[in-house]
């Protein structure tokens, strides 16, 4: 058992109330949009604009037992220029785990650190034929996303963002390639570990009616121990549908990603030790 002192666990109903109140207070504000749940577009906020997002990512299902995790992120974003934006994220994480092999049973909600991000747009998909942006996100997390164990994780994640629009911008295709360099301090074993996580994600979304987009999204993720590319620890491939709605005041995006395949295989062709059977992400954004 961890010997450190942890923050008091938050009750799920308290978190829900806070999120709902927070969103309600912002309902009268204007909105912009993200087309995808996992894949970033190359656009940035116009100069002087602010945006607040609430993210909720549900991760469920292991090889046995009951596993439910929920990642909550509140993000505030600002356009410093028409090409450069900055973001600040506050994170919370919930784990509801029972009888899962190699995982401790727990049911808790915790504050899970914060991160900042900068995004610079080099090319606009509306003017230059394609969109190109670079994104850099350093951050700190307090809990393992997988197990919920108390750890200290310091990371930096550069990301290359490409976007191409078709059919008068009613069909949007985006591709992200990112590498997350991570240093993790295991507080129980008093050890530092390094890991490199490489991710490739892509999404295609079509405006099928005013305000509405629907499409598909895919995410391939892999982790390399000690940041050595010859030391692959695991990989997972997720793909599924996404739905996006936006109007002048707010937008919401829902993406459902089941794990299609993974390695090392723990059940069938999936890796259910490092990843989950299903990820569902909902993002809601409000601008002001």
């Amino acid at each position: 058992m961890p010997t450190h002192r942890s923050l008091p666990a938050l009750r799920p109903t308290t978190c829900l109330a806070v999120i709902t109140l927070f969103a309600t207070l912002l309902t009268g504000l204007r909105a912009d949009e993200n087309y995808f749940g996992y894949t970033y577009g190359s656009e940035t906020l116009p100069k002087g604009r602010w945006e607040i997002y609430q993210w909720a990512t549900s991760r469920t299902g292991k090889a046995d037992g009951s596993y439910r995790a929920l990642d909550l992120q509140t993000e505030i974003e600002h356009g410093f220029t028409d090409r450069l934006q900055g973001s600040l994220y506050l994170n919370a994480i919930k784990h509801d785990i029972s009888r899962v092999t190699d995982f401790s049973d727990r049911n808790q909600v915790r504050f899970n650190g914060l991160q900042a991000a900068l995004k610079y747009s080099f090319k606009s998909p509306y003017k230059d034929g394609y969109g190109l942006a670079l994104y850099l996100e350093p951050g700190y997390k307090r809990y393992s996303a997988k197990s919920g164990d108390r750890v200290d994780i310091f990371f930096i994640e550069p990301k290359l963002i490409l976007q191409k629009n078709f059919l008068e911008d009613s069909l949007v295709w985006a591709v992200n390639f990112s590498g997350e360099f991570e240093r993790e301090h295991n507080l129980d074993e008093r050890e530092w570990e390094s890991e490199l996580e490489l991710q490739l994600s892509t999404g295609l979304s079509y405006r099928f009616a005013p305000n509405w987009f629907a499409g598909i999204e895919a995410l391939a993720t892999s982790a390399f121990e000690r940041m050595h590319l010859d030391a692959l620890g695991e990989y997972g491939l997720f793909a599924g549908p996404n739905l996006h709605y936006a109007n002048k005041k707010w937008w919401a995006t829902l993406t459902v990603l089941p794990q299609l395949t993974g390695w090392p295989e723990t059940k069938g062709h999936r890796d259910l030790e490092h990843f989950e059977k299903l990820q569902v992400r909902l993002k809601v954004g409000f601008n002001f």
Binding site: T20, A23, P46, K127, Y245, V284
Partner: protein, 174 residues
């Protein structure tokens, strides 16, 4: 099963609705571009061949065969058109003089979060005098509005398409 927590923002989202901003009615747009002139409705339905010709010449898609056009007494045309905004359609009007050149562009309905700067007179004045021979390209003969690039480009493309439509269809029907 996805957490029931995810449903809370969805319910919240479903409980609100968007709104449109109408800046100019049809009569106001007509009066702004052709003050005091008599306008006669001349609705036109483009044939398949005409749409193909317009698309080939302009390089732009013709979304609808229906053209909301009015003939101006003494020469010229008033046309109401729609282009895609980021979320919804932007409704705008273009006035063409007897020589087929743009007299003015007016934004009638704008429903987007950003990009409302396309309503600025200074930006819209750039179109005055343009004919179908003009490039009508952002950063070439039309200045882009940073932070409103999508709206700037789609309206610019729309004006280009209407100028070509005038050349290939309306001018011949006069």
């Amino acid at each position: 099963m996805p957490s029931r927590w995810l449903l809370a923002p969805a319910f919240l989202a479903a409980s609100t609705s968007g709104y449109a901003t109408t800046y100019l009615s049809l009569a106001e747009a007509q009066a702004a571009i052709f003050p005091g002139a008599a306008l006669t409705p001349a609705p036109t339905v483009l044939t398949a061949a005409q749409r193909t010709a317009i698309e080939k010449t302009s390089g732009l898609r013709v979304r609808s065969p229906e053209l909301r056009a009015w003939r101006v007494a003494g020469g010229g045309w008033f046309i109401v058109d729609e282009v895609l905004g980021k979320h919804e359609f932007i409704t705008y009007a273009v006035g063409l003089g007897p020589d087929g050149a743009v007299r003015a562009v007016e934004i009638m309905d704008y429903r987007e979060t950003y990009g409302g700067e396309v309503r600025n007179l200074k930006w819209r004045t750039q179109f005055a005098g343009k004919t179908s021979a003009a490039p009508l390209k952002l950063d070439l003969d039309i200045k882009n509005i940073s932070g409103a690039t999508l709206s700037s480009r789609h309206i610019t493309d729309g004006v280009k398409r209407l100028l070509v439509t005038h050349d290939l269809v309306l001018k011949k029907s006069a």
